[in-house]
């Protein structure tokens, strides 16, 4: 029997015409660590950049090495002695020219400790603490032995608070504060008397402060507070307690006053706001006035957002509303991931890196008030997908973001599947050679063997599946999953006007 072999070859994923030559143009020029770049109309002047020598100001220092290896641009810690702040990754040149003190390693002045500021705390350096204390008119209370922020916050939460009665200009007066501040920080007099758990308006302490109908927001506090006639905060605003002597005498925890556990958003009678539930003390708007005073628990949550759901203040979530799907390599050309955030009743959006170099991931944490959604833009690790030759390595989500497609291989015939990016990367297919390199991974040559029959005609013997539409469809899908390759649709759902691939048939 006479055999005749016919070879059909198929070439896929030939798409846009590539015009760019700029990679060649830049390739030969030496890169230098440039102290100061030449001023350009688009970027101005920038300091300590690794740039081609032609972009560096000839009057500035330049060395053909990376900036990390130079003395003048080596990044280090910049200490601002005026503010007591430290900033990493700052070159010596920039630090010194901006009134900073530069050092290679973090200096002792940058060590952090707990700065107690009345009933507030800040985890900062000693100089910063002194600065903050002087700005607030407080004595410096710095605890260097406290080495983390949580412990620092707990330190002030456990402080005993009450009414501090003292004399000012021969008159008795009162300040609601901590025992520590009363003993040492006010008037510096030994005659200061501290009444723990009492408000300045308590009759029994003999202070000249009386209840009022005024309310106010207190810095660092969520709730609306009553204010006494001396200007001190009293208990949380509760319109039903305006004439209650006991309510104006003893400090009450927020769990024991009106609307405990709730958000009390826009409540006219209760100022027990809860930031975690999305309410915070603010000046009331017209039409939403409280029964007394001008402050109210303002609603910070977002209702009926773009996806139709409601979210709490601070919650974030992923949005991908372009054409196509995510996670299975069918992303459309130009599509991008977005992270939406609910801030003060407003839906704010943050775009992840363009060309799907970042993808949005989303999760929820359980809180005492229900689930709290959180999203983030994360790098799309698609680069080494196609070099994986087994399902296990392909689906290792610690290393890469890929999916395993059974049946069709882009490596060799011994592998029974392909590892492809879960979210196909966007490519600058209109310029450069790189897109061609990425997309041509989907090129395939399939040798189909035919046998000539004695009665005339031919019969397919080997690799006959390459002649089917299904095989062509499989190759198209691989093409699309590799990036902006092959037959594709754009982000508004319009199909490309070219096939995006080519099939060549050769007989041998």
């Amino acid at each position: 029997m006479m055999k005749k072999r016919l070879i059909l070859s198929f070439a896929f994923c030939l798409f846009a015409i590539i015009f760019s030559f700029n990679a060649l143009a830049l390739g030969s020029e030496q890169t230098v660590c440039c102290e100061k770049t030449i001023a350009s109309p688009e970027k101005g002047v920038l300091y300590c950049q690794d740039v081609p020598a032609s972009q560096c100001d000839p009057n500035s220092r330049q060395v053909p090495t990376s900036c990390e290896s130079t003395s003048y641009c080596k990044p280090g810690v910049c200490y601002n002695s005026n503010e007591g702040t430290c900033l990493d990754n700052t070159p010596q040149l920039i630090c010194n020219s901006n009134e900073g003190i530069w050092s290679e390693e973090s200096p002792p002045q940058c060590n952090l400790g707990c700065c107690v500021l009345g009933d507030q705390a800040a985890f900062v350096s000693l100089v910063r603490c002194k600065k903050l204390s002087s700005q607030l008119g407080l004595q410096t209370n710095y605890k260097s032995n406290i080495q983390n922020e949580v412990q620092c916050i707990l330190e002030v939460q456990n402080q005993e608070k009450g009414a501090c009665v003292f004399e000012k200009e021969f008159e008795k007066t009162c300040k609601f504060t901590t025992r520590g501040e009363c003993d040492t920080g006010i008037n510096k007099s030994k005659s200061n008397e501290f009444f723990p758990g009492k408000l300045c308006s308590a009759e029994e302490i003999g202070a000249p402060c009386a209840p009022t109908r005024q309310t106010s927001c207190i810095p660092g506090k969520d709730e609306v507070y009553f204010i006494d006639s001396c200007g001190n905060p009293a208990n949380i605003y509760d319109s039903s307690k305006i004439n209650d002597k006991l309510y104006w005498s003893n400090v009450l925890d927020k769990s024991k006053v009106c609307g405990a556990g709730g958000a009390n958003s826009n409540s006219a009678g209760c100022g027990n706001c809860n930031y975690l539930q999305g309410s915070y003390c603010r000046d009331a708007e017209k039409g939403k006035l409280p029964t007394y005073g001008d402050a109210i628990c303002s609603d910070l949550n977002c209702k009926n957002t773009a996806n139709g759901k409601s979210y709490k203040h601070g919650e974030s979530w992923c949005v991908y509303d372009d054409a196509g799907k995510t996670g299975d390599g069918t992303n459309t050309v130009g599509s991008e991931f977005y992270k939406h955030i609910c801030i003060n009743g407003e839906e704010v959006l943050e775009q992840c890196s363009g060309f799907r170099q970042q993808e949005c991931i989303e999760g929820a944490i359980e809180t005492s008030v229900g689930k709290f959604s959180q999203a983030a833009c994360r790098v799309n690790r698609w680069q080494d997908c196609t070099s994986q030759d087994n399902k296990q390595d392909c689906q290792n989500t610690d290393r890469r973001d890929c999916f395993w497609r059974e049946g069709v291989s882009i490596l060799n015939d011994s592998v029974e599947g392909s590892c492809l990016p879960s979210n196909s990367p966007g490519l600058k297919f209109w310029e450069g050679e790189q897109t061609r390199q990425i997309c041509q991974q989907a090129n395939a040559a399939c040798v189909v063997t035919f046998e000539k029959k004695l009665t005339g005609g031919e019969e397919c013997k080997e690799n006959c599946e390459c002649l089917t539409e299904e095989w062509q469809k499989d190759r198209e899908e691989i093409c699309t999953a590799l990036g902006d390759c092959g037959p594709n649709t754009n982000w508004i759902g319009v199909k490309g006007y070219k096939d995006g691939f080519k099939i060549e048939t050769k007989k041998a």
Binding site: P75, T85, N89, T90, I94, G354, G432
Partner: protein, 254 residues
């Protein structure tokens, strides 16, 4: 009895009418009269404050939206405006190099530099006005010192001056305070730069936990730069700057 009451009423109306006419005439013939009494009482502090107040507020508004710069050195053009880079790298896959480690200090210097001519002009106006009222005014060269603190901008004007008429009074310096929440916004900007330079990006939702009145917007541009706008919901103040860090270009590194 009724007639006497009526006469009394008429007399009161006449007196009120005379007083009103006298006030109107006083304003017509002495148009430079100062209702607040600041100038007449010879208080240079309030004169200069009211003179420069508008300039300060406009300046704060304009400068803060440009990261505290009148003319940034390194910048990106965004919506036709130059937004200063506080952290920048021209490379891909690298974290940025800090370009402005002293955000607050630089802003304060810009305020001092830009405001000085208008404050000097205010001092000149004060001298002119008071000399026209018969005062002898001696003024030395003015120096400014601006500093941001929580909730306000403090401006110290060191402009020694002596006012003499019947008596003589000497002033060494004047302290002014303008309401502003930019201190917090700049502290946040510095923190964001720190994150950008170390990690290549910042997580803006982290700040919401500690700053309930702050909104941070981050816009990513195609070439990898990010435009940050930090604003205060209550005061409406805004602070804007740019960063280019840890850029992932399309395709892969060659």
């Amino acid at each position: 009895m009724g007639f006497i009451n009526k006469k009394g009423q008429v007399a009161i109306f006449v007196i009120i009418a005379i007083v009103i006419v006298a006030i109107i005439l006083a304003f017509m013939f002495y148009p430079k009269i100062n209702i607040g009494g600041n100038s007449e009482t010879g208080n240079p502090k309030s004169f200069i404050e009211s003179c420069m107040k508008e300039d300060v507020n406009t300046l704060l508004d304009e400068l803060s939206y440009n990261g505290g710069y009148e003319e940034p050195e390194g910048f990106i053009i965004y919506q036709g405006e130059k937004v200063p880079y506080f952290c920048y790298t021209s490379d891909s896959y690298e974290t940025c190099i800090v370009q402005q480690p002293n955000v607050q200090g630089h802003f304060e210097n810009e305020i001092e530099r830009i405001l000085k001519p208008s404050v000097e002009s205010c001092v000149k106006d004060f001298k002119k006005e008071f000399e026209s009222k018969g005062y002898s005014v001696s003024v030395s060269k003015a120096e400014l010192n601006a500093s941001f603190v929580p909730g306000k901008l403090k401006i110290e004007l060191m402009s020694p001056m002596t006012l003499s008429k019947d008596t003589s009074r000497t002033y060494e310096s004047f302290d002014y305070e303008f309401k502003s929440d930019l201190y917090d916004l700049m502290a946040l900007a510095t923190s964001i730069i720190d994150y950008e330079s170390v990690y290549g990006d910042s997580e803006t939702t982290l700040y919401l936990r500690y700053y309930p009145n702050i909104k941070i917007e981050k816009v990513r541009l195609d070439e990898g730069s990010k435009i940050y706008t930090i604003s205060n919901f209550v005061s409406g103040e805004r602070f804007r700057f740019a960063s280019r860090s840890l850029v992932w270009p399309p395709g892969f590194e060659q």
